[in-house]
């Protein structure tokens, strides 16, 4: 059916002025019926019907005015940082969410892989999950049955096909999940790069599989923030930033521009005017900026385990402040305190005259927080004597999986949050006596897990 000549001039994917608007905060809370009644009454007073006009809540465009065409057999990379609209674009093209504006036209069967293990159920066996997940991804039963051996082979889990997947190691689980997805053969394949999973060898196999999918004349849309993966596979790339398409060019040009935007735009400062402060208010925190840095001190786009983190705070005094201690605290998403740092630990104190403005920066080296969401709190005061100003949760800190690290380390699921620097020693054979001063075979610092 993917005949070359039939529709050579009709683009397989045509995106016209596509837009998606979200209401801020709409996702976070589920409405209760009472709220809906109140809103409904209020709204009915104005106009009837029209959902979405319910509150004067803040809205933003996750994607705006994006237009592009993809021809048959093209492999196009979509690149952008987190929050640039990549995922939204993907979700619209895969028909998971509906656009707010514009239109998309697709020719042929669409398969989208946004996450590994879609539809996997821990209580079902490997075999059962292959069929279930395959059906959810849009494969016919006969098609799955025909490819079953190939799928299991590729995942290297033959011996465990009839074991419940909850007993699988995370690596086995991921491999099987990816393998099902990789054997989907749609006309248009929409892939998120995070799909390349597992250890380095298996990742290579994954990328190889995607490359071969592309070479078989299928149209592929490949979303990534891993430049290394995109450049060799794609014939063209699009760069998204803040919901808009800023560049459409060959992958190398786009990659260069992307790299430039990363270094040029450090994280914005959080304005603390409207935050909830406590303390006597002799001084107030006015802003906070979280700047992830590489080991060499250059700014990086995202915070990853092991990055440096610079926390810049600004304070304004309204009354004299004498020898105060300024501190920061990092909490996990449920508010459990993980670590803190303050000026007193370094023997330094802050004194301010009224209207003085001070900047207190903390540089945390090698922050080994696991990927996830954390909260940053601020405090200025004097021991047990007084709280001058404090904000329990001033900003959130997102720690992302390190795209480079991922290639080499395995991620184990679980709730623990911190990692520590450690050394692994692998020696050839167990010896009865530890050799004093013996060189460890592998002595590179590795993040735990």
């Amino acid at each position: 059916m993917s005949s070359e000549g039939a529709a050579a001039d009709v683009p397989v994917i045509r995106v016209e002025r596509l837009g998606k608007q979200y209401q801020l905060g709409a996702r976070a809370t589920h409405r209760t019926i009472r709220e809906a009644f109140v809103d409904g009454a209020r709204q009915a007073a104005r106009s009837i019907g029209r959902r979405g006009a319910r509150r004067s809540a803040e809205r933003f465009w996750a994607l705006r005015d994006v237009s592009f065409d993809v021809a048959h057999g093209e492999v196009v990379g979509v690149i952008g940082r987190n929050g640039s609209g990549k995922s939204t674009l993907l979700k619209i093209l895969s028909r998971i969410v509906e656009p707010t504006a514009g239109a998309v036209e697709l020719q042929g069967r669409v398969g989208s892989l946004l996450e590994v293990g879609t539809g996997f159920h821990p209580d079902l066996t490997g075999r059962e999950n292959v069929f279930l997940s395959g059906a959810i991804l849009g494969m016919r039963r006969a098609e799955i049955a025909a490819k079953f051996d190939e799928i299991v082979d590729f995942a290297e889990v033959e011996r465990f096909v009839d074991t419940q997947v909850k007993h699988y190691s995370s690596g086995m689980y991921m491999r099987l999940a990816f393998s099902v997805a990789a054997h989907l053969e749609p006309d248009i394949l929409i892939v998120d790069e995070v799909l390349a999973v597992g250890d380095a060898a298996f990742q290579k196999k994954c990328l190889g599989k995607m490359g071969s999918v592309a070479r078989h004349g299928r149209t592929v849309l490949f979303v990534s923030h891993n430049m290394g993966a995109v450049v060799p596979l794609c014939s063209r790339a699009l760069l998204l930033d803040a919901g808009r398409m800023v560049l459409e060019a060959d992958p190398i040009t786009v990659a260069a521009r992307y790299q430039a935007t990363l270094t040029a735009a450090p994280t914005d400062a959080t304005d603390l005017e409207s935050a909830e402060h406590f303390g006597n208010g002799k001084a107030r925190f006015v802003s906070l900026r979280l700047v992830p840095e590489r080991r060499d001190g250059t700014t990086r786009e995202m915070m990853c385990p092991g990055s440096r983190l610079r926390i810049e705070t600004r304070l304004v005094a309204s009354a004299p402040v004498e020898s105060a201690n300024v501190g920061i605290t990092i909490y996990d998403a449920s508010g459990y305190r993980l670590l803190d740092a303050n000026t007193a630990m370094q023997g330094r104190f802050v004194s301010l005259a009224p209207d003085d403005e001070a900047r207190v920066d903390f540089a945390l080296e090698d922050v080994r927080l696991k990927p996830g969401t954390y909260l940053v709190g601020l405090w200025i005061g004097r021991g047990n004597l007084e709280d001058i100003d404090g904000i329990l949760y001033a900003a959130t800190l997102e720690v992302e999986p390190d795209p480079h690290q991922l290639q080499h380390s395995e991620q184990f699921p679980g709730p623990y949050l911190c990692a520590f620097q450690h050394v692994v020693t692998v020696s050839a054979a167990p010896s009865t006596e530890p050799t004093p001063g013996g060189e460890p075979a592998v002595a590179a610092p590795v993040a735990a897990s």
């Binding site: 059916m1 993917s2 979200y22 709409a26 996702r27 589920h30 409405r31 209760t32 019926i33 809906a36 019907g49 029209r50 959902r51 979700k91 619209i92 093209l93 895969s94 028909r95 998971i96 969410v97 509906e98 656009p99 707010t100 504006a101 514009g102 239109a103 998309v104 036209e105 697709l106 020719q107 042929g108 069967r109 669409v110 989208s112 946004l114 996450e115 879609t118 539809g119 159920h121 209580d123 079902l124 059962e128 069929f131 279930l132 059906a135 959810i136 991804l137 849009g138 016919r140 039963r141 006969a142 098609e143 025909a146 490819k147 053969e185 749609p186 006309d187 078989h216």
Partner: protein, 280 residues
């Protein structure tokens, strides 16, 4: 290349929609294999790691029947249209259990599959539909015991039993209809999960399970039958036990109410569907 396409319109156009949208039932049919796998998954998962396994499908109505027989039949001496009370109650409890389970499971079907809804496209109608269909399998397991009970009490089914599938269909339509409303509402309003246990309990009292509808004054029965489960339960008793509850206006009212629930529910579901992935 083995490409057997499921989603293959000549051109698929994705655009913002608003208001009421077509049901696109053809798509649900195209995804029937997925529907089959979802039903199969529900059943597999429900009974895996249980000691009694599928016996639960029979035990639920059976135990309720024993309790009812003891309290309502023996102690309260509730009349039972001339049929042994235990049989009277079990005949009602089999379709009722199907309905109540279907309603409870389907109202949670979308929220419970949030990870699917946000990751992959398929007609969302398949989710509540699959849970109600899975309930049908439980129903088929609990049903044979009914014949056992009839044999035990020496009741032979009449020729009216041929009408039974109609009443099963009515129970199915009602369960799915309510399930569509509740599952769609549950996505945005998590109040639903608090409402459901309460709703099923009240609904049970509003259905002639522990008592016969002949207790009600004649003129109220048609209003009473607006509850489609009234038609289902009385229909079951009439078809199997030959009670004097011949399907008349009551069943027609019940059927009309059930269809209204289903059609309304399906359109409401489709209308709400566009925000499922954003909200769930």
């Amino acid at each position: 290349m083995v490409t057997q396409s499921i989603i293959r319109p000549a051109t698929l156009r994705i655009e913002p929609t608003r208001g009421w949208v077509p049901l696109r039932l053809g798509e649900v049919v195209a995804y029937r294999e997925l529907l089959f796998f979802l039903v199969w998954r529900d059943l597999k998962v429900r009974y895996r790691q249980t000691v009694l396994g599928v016996a639960w499908a029979v035990l639920q109505p059976l135990l309720t029947m024993l309790v009812f027989t003891l309290f309502f039949g023996r102690l309260a001496r509730v009349p039972s249209d001339g049929v042994p009370y235990s049989l009277f109650a079990y005949t009602a409890l089999v379709p009722w259990t199907f309905f109540a389970t279907g309603l409870t499971m389907s109202s949670n079907s979308l929220v419970g599959s949030a990870n699917l809804i946000t990751k992959v496209y398929f007609p969302r109608l398949t989710l509540p539909l699959a849970t109600v269909l899975a309930g049908l399998v439980d129903f088929a397991l609990a049903f044979p015991l009914l014949f056992g009970l009839m044999w035990y009490h020496g009741v032979t089914p009449t020729a009216q039993v041929v009408w039974l599938p109609l009443f099963i269909a009515l129970a199915f339509i009602t369960a799915l209809g309510v399930g569509l409303w509740l599952s769609a509402l549950n996505v945005e309003f998590r109040d639903v999960r608090h409402v459901v246990p309460f709703l099923t309990q009240l609904w049970m009292f509003a259905t002639p399970i522990a008592y016969p509808s002949s207790l009600l004054p004649e003129r109220w029965r048609v209003v009473y039958a607006l509850n489609p489960m009234v038609g289902v339960v009385e229909g079951f008793r009439w078809a199997l036990l030959g009670t004097d509850t011949r399907p008349g206006p009551m069943v027609l009212v019940s059927a009309a109410a059930a269809l209204a629930l289903l059609v309304g529910g399906a359109f409401f579901f489709r209308r709400m569907e566009r925000t499922f992935a954003d909200v769930v």
